[in-house]
């Protein structure tokens, strides 16, 4: 079974802190994604990566950066956390370049910024 793991289920950080959210997948997938999920807004794509060291902005990249140094690992970085970044963060991976593949999601990290 494909497994996507995220480093923390719950995280509480203070405003201004630098925050790292880690995601690891074990199926050699080329594509990895970071979403945030907020009530009434659905899933919004922050960044994605289709290869090592490659990254593409999603719909809401402001305030975030990413790193993909190894194929299996995709990190989301909040350079200076703010309260409006309190959210559920979901990582996902997918093989291939076409849209005919399902995405596999991690369990999510619920981040609270105080």
């Amino acid at each position: 079974d494909v497994k996507v793991t995220q480093s923390s289920r719950y995280l509480v950080k203070r405003t201004g802190e630098k925050v790292f959210l880690e995601c690891v997948q074990d199926m050699d997938h080329e594509n990895m994604f970071w979403y945030r999920q907020d009530p009434g807004l659905g899933l919004r794509l922050i960044y994605f990566s289709y290869d090592v060291k490659m990254k593409e902005k999603g719909d809401i990249p402001e305030g975030y950066s990413v790193s993909r140094e190894k194929k299996e690992r995709f990190s989301l970085i909040l350079e200076s956390a703010s309260t409006n970044q309190t959210s559920m963060y979901l990582c996902a991976s997918r093989p291939g370049t076409s849209g005919s593949y399902e995405q596999y999601f991690g369990p999510g990290t619920r981040l609270t910024v105080t």
Binding site: V4, N31, F33, Y35, G40, L41, G42, L43, L45, F48, Y50, E56, G58, M88, L90, A92, T97, S98, G99, S100, E102, Q103, Y104, F105, G106, P107, G108, R110
Partner: protein, 109 residues
């Protein structure tokens, strides 16, 4: 935006009843996918229907697709309490899936 919109936003039924959720989208698609999310967890893929298919079944799930109306429906038959979750449709955009806002389904025993 290609974002899908699910309807209704919330649905409450009794065990054994059928649940129908609808999804509308805005642009042409190659396929449409449905995902389930249990409370506070990640999403799980349920089913994919291609643009040249009109109906697809998987266990108690039945998905229809009407590309002329840019809409899809997900039917869960003989629902169970364990079906309580949020359900999302997703369409393929440029290199990425675009998710709708979801339908929250509550199945009461």
């Amino acid at each position: 935006s290609q974002q899908g919109e699910e309807d209704p936003q919330a649905l409450s039924i009794q065990e054994g009843e059928n649940a129908t959720m609808n999804c509308s989208y805005k642009t042409s698609i190659n396929n449409l996918q449905w995902y389930r999310q249990n409370s506070g967890r990640g999403l799980v893929h349920l089913i994919l229907i291609r643009s040249n298919e009109r109906e697809k079944h998987s266990g108690r799930l039945r998905v229809t697709l009407d590309t002329s109306k840019k809409s899809s429906s997900l039917l869960i038959t003989a629902s169970r309490a364990a079906d309580t979750a949020s359900y999302f449709c997703a369409t393929w955009g440029f290199q990425k899936l675009v998710f709708g806002t979801g339908t929250r389904l509550l199945v009461s025993p």
